[in-house]
Assembly symmetry: D2
Homo-oligomer: 202 residues x 4
């Protein structure tokens, strides 16, 4: 069974892209709109960069490894992202982080506490972090909580069907933790802001 496609990633970074389903959930939590400046730490394959470039008005993607940034650049070029305003920055965050991000995604855990500190200082509205390792997930939740920006912790797991002797057997992706929050939550956002960023269906 060929899986239903979303974006083209002809170029490969060693770490592998965020899986499509995790990416979909991550992007739904980020709730990007054309009014947003989206900042990504660790763009790697560029899968999130591409999808964000289709939603946010402005994208800044940081990547500390030049060869990975090159992969981001090539994969971005292989997809139609319209006339998106995307800046690729060779830097190890928190170095190089802009001060006007509306939404921030941490694809990895490197320096995450310093990145979160910067997010708090610059009042980033929505922050989402994906973590695959247990101890790091625990520390990430604590770091969000300690900074007063924790809104949500979730674990996701997808299993993919393949045909085996005429029926469907499954291959499971590993579980991924998603930690989400935002420095701007208690900033007295009025009804309009709430509507712009979406309001809970809980």
């Amino acid at each position: 069974m060929p899986r239903i496609p979303s974006i083209r990633l002809p170029h490969d970074a060693k770490a592998g892209p965020t899986k499509p389903e995790v990416r979909a959930v991550t992007l739904s939590k980020l709730g990007l709109t054309p009014a947003d400046h989206f900042v990504e730490v660790g763009s790697c394959t560029g899968a999130v960069t591409i999808e964000a470039a289709r939603r946010a008005g402005r994208v800044t993607a940081l990547e500390r490894k030049p060869e990975r940034l090159e992969v981001t650049r090539k994969n971005l070029a292989a997809n139609d992202v319209g006339d998106a305003d995307v800046e690729l920055v060779a830097a190890e965050a928190p170095e190089g982080l802009p001060d006007d991000a509306d939404a921030l995604f941490l694809g990895g855990s490197r320096n995450f506490e310093a990145v979160l500190d910067h997010a708090v200082e610059t009042d980033v509205d929505r922050v989402v972090m994906n973590v695959s390792r247990l101890e790091v997930a625990g520390r990430a939740v604590e770091a969000f909580r300690d900074r007063g920006i924790l809104d949500e912790v979730a674990q996701f797991q997808a299993s993919h069907g393949y045909e085996l002797a005429g029926a469907t057997s499954f291959d499971s992706d590993n579980p991924v933790y998603l930690v989400a929050g935002g420095a701007g939550d208690d900033e007295g956002s009025g009804d309009e802001d709430a509507e712009a960023s979406g309001v809970s269906d809980a």
Copy 2:
């Protein structure tokens, strides 16, 4: 922990909305663009309708229960979906299905074989069905396979953190099966179409 919001659903249908994470994955599989006519069978709370209305050029939502269609209508009105072209139809599919859908979502299993027959006849490009019950999921996969439109089967599970004695315990949503495919797969779509609907990152 308040969960990160996405859409407003002030009005309630008994069956409960598709969970936000399942909705995010479902919508990513549907890959809606402004060029698409999206058709939904069983709009219920309207959660998928609202998100589809923000992406597709045209939305037709069928719902056999009038009181549920009213909930769809009210929730749709409570969200900003721009000037989306949305038609709500009180009908039990396959009755009332338009013949020019590009993407079709089955939120429930009622009459699903007849709905799939119609999707094949009218050459619907992308079809996604969500199923929660085991036997029905098995029959759905068989129905997609029998019609030659099966592309993907996935199972998805999300667990949500809540604070318990200062740390994060989880509450699990039930697993959901997602069956996806499309009648238009082997229709010789050129490169441009492939790009428009996205091409695999597998």
Copy 3:
């Protein structure tokens, strides 16, 4: 991280043994005691055979492939199962099924309806079937239900940690369906029988 051991399986059958965690749950559902005659359909690697031989008074293991039965025999010999009364039978069930089983395990789905018919006819007290494929799981549940012997359906998934850069990443086993029931349920078993086979902690 070396996983905590349970039994020796030096000899390999192509299909791979039931995973240790699924085996543990399966055996707990079977609730074997020295009073039981346990019958297994598809002994394969022999993993379940060995653990059953340590619990049940008598074990009959059927395997239609002679080379797999040889693997069962060798792995059985490599483990201490005391003076267990184990009979290995080269037969394709329902051929070769004894008429006095107390507990029956179906490790695969081959001929499962005929095997279940035999279980009903011979009044087998506990029947457990493991299934990995979706459509087959659905049909198995229906087969148990149609025969009036369905007690329980469960899905299990285990993820195993491995060290990655100093922390724990996970590798997931595929989900497994477990269907359980028994022909003897409504046979008016008294309190003593109930106690022998265990009584619910639900």
Copy 4:
């Protein structure tokens, strides 16, 4: 669907028993034999105590809350555990821990670092800890690793079927982390010891 039973737990402790499937996996990791002295920290409902009493030669169950210890006692009395040698101790571990345990189970995380220290000092062969909270699971793995006794980390999830409109819907238990290891691993155990405690099928 009534679930297949295992033990009787007529008396209730507030925290709820370890779920049957998690208990089955936990006991399989502990690999108890009549030669073992099994020690449990936090016996609570007594579900693990009862099953351990059927396998180990000797059981010592610690519980810091007297009313819970009373529940353990009553539930133990409601099950046939033969002439098992079970001692119930009202103590908050590490207080009251015996020095000759072969296998140790931590059902909760209270004082777990001190309990693990005692396990290392007294050379406990097998140690299993169940954790449900994320941050605690991360710290538990680190505590096992720091003491050089980490063998295995697993995450386990069970979903239970119930009948909904003639087919099977699922209700998911929350995921549980299982951390396992043992101080006696590198103690030069000969082949016989290895066989007694079981040797890997990995």
